[in-house]
């Protein structure tokens, strides 16, 4: 029984990790684009982007997944059968908005003198951003990003409501057979995975501590 549950939960957890990983693939670059939008000189870009971030951060993720699941059907009469994909898109957009604010904070915390030093040395805008600003931003955002990553691991549990066969869904199947303990056992998977993430992030912080 124990091995069967372990095997089932592990399969579910791999789905959770898949959702986690793919969300990052979407949200990490998309967040950077959104952060550029929210810092744009052009008001017609800046304010709509800021409004989007406000809406996404201001409403529950669960509600957003509902909208992603049902809106296409209600508005355009399209039914999307791939629930995993829909959840992934909702997660991706949600986390991109959170990341964008962390990026923005990081980018704006770099002193103007760094840009000016690059400029008087003849570096192009892209070189200044890529070689001078971004490496310093990465160091500053590692701790808050660690927080977000860990939150994301746990947020993937929301997908179980939409028939994504992730670990909580698997555990709740046992629940319907009046077996409760797999639920608590599922917690161990999260705990272990977040433990690994925590170690990884402290490793990164250490790697980046060669300068101040």
């Amino acid at each position: 029984m124990f091995f069967e549950v372990t095997w089932t939960l592990l399969k579910g957890f791999l789905k959770s990790v898949e959702l986690f990983g793919l969300t990052l693939v979407i949200a990490l670059p998309l967040g950077l684009i959104i952060s550029f939008g929210s810092m744009s000189k052009f008001k017609f870009i800046k304010y709509p982007v800021k409004c989007l971030v406000w809406i996404i951060r201001g409403t529950p993720l669960l509600l957003q997944i509902f909208i992603f699941v049902y809106a296409p059907g209600l508005l355009f009469d399209i039914s999307i059968s791939n629930r995993f994909l829909v959840c992934l898109l909702a997660f991706g957009l949600n986390y991109a908005c959170y990341f964008s604010e962390i990026y923005r904070g990081g980018i704006e915390s770099i002193s103007i003198g760094q840009y000016e030093a690059g400029k008087v040395l003849g570096l192009s805008k892209n070189q200044i951003f890529g070689k001078i600003i971004l490496p310093q931003v990465v160091k500053r955002i590692v701790p808050p990003m660690g927080n977000e990553f860990i939150t994301l691991v746990k947020d993937t549990a929301l997908a179980n409501i939409f028939q994504v066969f992730e670990i909580m869904y698997m555990a709740s199947n046992y629940m319907s057979k009046a077996i409760i303990w797999p639920f608590f056992y599922a917690g161990v998977f999260y705990l272990l995975f977040n433990g690994i993430l925590t170690l990884l992030f402290s490793y990164f912080e250490k790697r980046l501590s060669y300068y101040r």
């Binding site: 002193s111 030093a117 040395l121 003849g122």
Partner: protein
Amino acid sequence: MSILEVKNIEKSFNKTEVLKGISFEMKEGEVLAIIGRSGSGKSTLLRCLNFLERAEKGEILLNGEYIVKSDEDNFSIYPEESELCKKGLNFGMVFQNFNLFPHKSILNNLTLAPILVNKISKDEAEKNARAILKRVGLSEKEKNYPFELSGGQQQRAAIARALCMKPAILCFDEPTSALDPELTGEVLKVIRSLKEDNTTMIVVTHEIAFARDVADKIMFMDDGQIIEIGESKEIFYNPKHPRTKEFMQSILKNE
């Protein structure tokens, strides 16, 4: 021929006029010190020269060639960004707060721009950088990161970084203002040694004694205008304008 000619530069921030028609010339190898109270426009002038700010009116010529030309109403016409960026390399800049890149070693601070902008090889860039580090007395620090250096050492590294781009004119914006008094000497010494090598320099400074000893010319600015410009000893010992006299007296009283 003058290496630098500045004609009628005007600049304002939000309708506050900061520079009200600045004109001067410099010869190659000359050291010009710009002195004056805070808010007199000295730093803004320097920033207009290396294009960190754009003047609204006036012209800037380097070696007799227009970099910034003006139309009939004296409004400045700047070249395209890429062209301006190239021309800007003629002006090296040393900042009050050093602005070294904290994530790069001292050597990499020096080689970054020569490799990326001048497209020279890493080996050559490092060779040049080491020679310049030696000149400012930082040979031992090439592997260190800026935070591991004292303020004076950081500023010397920043001077070395500017020199690596071989600018025609080296500009200093209050290079010793962020330093503890006991550290200013080493930086001033480096600037002195550059003068001996005939480096053309513009130094915005509060170090009045330094200006007297090192500069060929002193420019006294007040309220966005040049009040007086001339031979440094002349300005220092025998200022003509009452405002220069007043400023010199207030400075000397404090020293």
